[in-house]
Amino acid sequence: MRSTAAAVAMTITELAARRRLHSRTEVSAWIADNGVYLGLLLLVLVNLVLTPRFADLDNIRLQFVQVVPVAVIALGMALVIGTEGIDLSVGSVMAISSALLALYLGYGPLVAIAIALAGGALVGMVNGLLVSRFGIQPIVATLALLVGGRGLALVIAQGRLTEVFDPTLGWIGSGQVLGIPIVVLVAGAVALFVTILVARTTFGRYVVAIGGNPGASFLAGVPVRRTLLSVYILSALFAALAGIIQTSRLSAADPSFVGSLIELSAITAVVVGGTPLTGGRVRVLGTLAGALLMQLISATLISHNLPDSSTRMVQAVIILGAVYIQRDRSA
């Protein structure tokens, strides 16, 4: 009896507290939604004032080119996180695609690219099957592929760094169309594709529905398994694409290092961009802004001669800050 009364009293206090916080919650909700753009704007302004030659076309181009692999992977990751999943294997998929590309380059660049993408898709399919058919938690399933995939990439490449000289790949890596680097155009195309997917297709609705409540989605007739499978294949395909881009840019396939820890950068970009880890929401533009924000932070610190170590620490603080702001909404 007493406990019931206490519970009621607690609820009343809670409600009162919540009403008082109402206006504050609105503000913080706005910040949670748009904080990433605000941060990006602030950073650009700071750089315009402090960093010499920041607004140079070359520098802007460089920043965009450097963010491409993370941005492309983050877009796939956003879809996965939208279903309340996670894909830790993307870095290893990059390595596999890079190793396959180098291995099959003898058959011509297009064949090699196709095989690299197919290899990535295959890994994605394994991820997707483990998660959708066997009900294994995404973090464990993709962790296994992270460990095994990197090993597989090293086996394919026999652990060696292979230099890749090919005119087509060279063109992809450093070519430009109308002054815009081709890799940036590719990333733009991927972003457009994901935007349409999320905003305009049934598939996009399914993704968000599954992330919101998988049980209810299943009962409502959403093809949960098929959607999950597709999402993991897409994520791996984008990672393979990022592997191809990175290999073309560096003119080398280095399976022991390419894409190492990129899963963390991609997850960071997604979360900073306002997609909650609990799923049910996918923000494409926010994800891109998140990737760009993290890229600009490290570029800013490096251009002011701050070492790599402080870059990491600042990134850590920013991740915590971004998630702390978003925390209010879920409460």
């Binding site: 962790l143 460990v147 090993g151 597989l152 026999q158 609990t278 990491r312 915590l320 998630v323 409460a331």
Partner: protein, 343 residues
Amino acid sequence: MSTVVRVPDRPPPAMTSLDEAERAATRRERLAGTLQRNGAFVVLVIVALLASLLFGTSFASTDNFLNVLEASSFLGLVAVGMTFVIIGGGIDLSVGSMLALSAVLAAYGSQYGIVVAVALPLAICGLLGLLNGVLIARAGMPPFIVTLATLLFARGLAFAVSNEGNKIFHIDETLAVIWLGQGSILGIRVPIVIAGLAFALGWLVLTRTRYGISVTAIGSSEDAARLMGVPVARFKTVMYFVSGLLAGLAGLLVAARSSSGQSTIGTGLELQAIAAVVIGGTLLTGGSGSIAGTLAGVLLLNVINNVINQVGTLSSYYQQVVSGVFLITVVLVQRYLSREQRL
């Protein structure tokens, strides 16, 4: 004499055949449960027996056995902390970076004497673990992100202390702290003894104390645990604090073992630890798991490494492939068994 109305919990005798089937199902369920809990041990024994048959004394010798144990001890320390965190429904990605940070700090601190060499890394790692705990338990932030940030931060700090990884601090061989990594007690190397103690203590705490049982309750249902009067926030904070502290201890031992502190070690260790815990039968969803299973998981990973090293022709890359395949297999089997249990 009070009359107790017994509610029949079994169907009436007329339905014997159904009863029989039910009992068989219960038996199967129990067997599946036992296998899920001890599967890692069974596999460990099988792998070890096969390796003994294949390689003879080069595998099955006391020396090699002790080597496997020593190699396991660093991962083992980290995995004990991780087991508690995962049973409590969380995850700690920061342990690998913490280990590196601790090793660097231990080597750096050794210039100022043994007390600093031991206290500095433990204090800093404990503090970072505490920070993890407070942000997760008090501020309600997701463990995955918080410990991801600590992963970055600790690695950054390790690099900052060691001049961007260019400076490798060495520990003077005459300093007593070296004993922690290279000394032995009754012929057994100190890291093995320390890790063994950690496992024993972890098992005791998990199964025999209010804290351990509360952690399991928190992992099953945080709300229910709170309603039962478990101090959820405090216990969760302790969980991450201990995990950080154990990672720090492991780093200290690694530094003492190699007489130096390098900022690049321990990358991916968090994933290895998670893999060991999961292979050991602890569910990532929290609420169930065992320290003994984790011990089997850690040993299994290291025995596999050892076996692959014995096969000289296999490149070390296969090690990763085998580990990955192994993790999937174990999880699939566990998944199958726990489904059986629910029937």
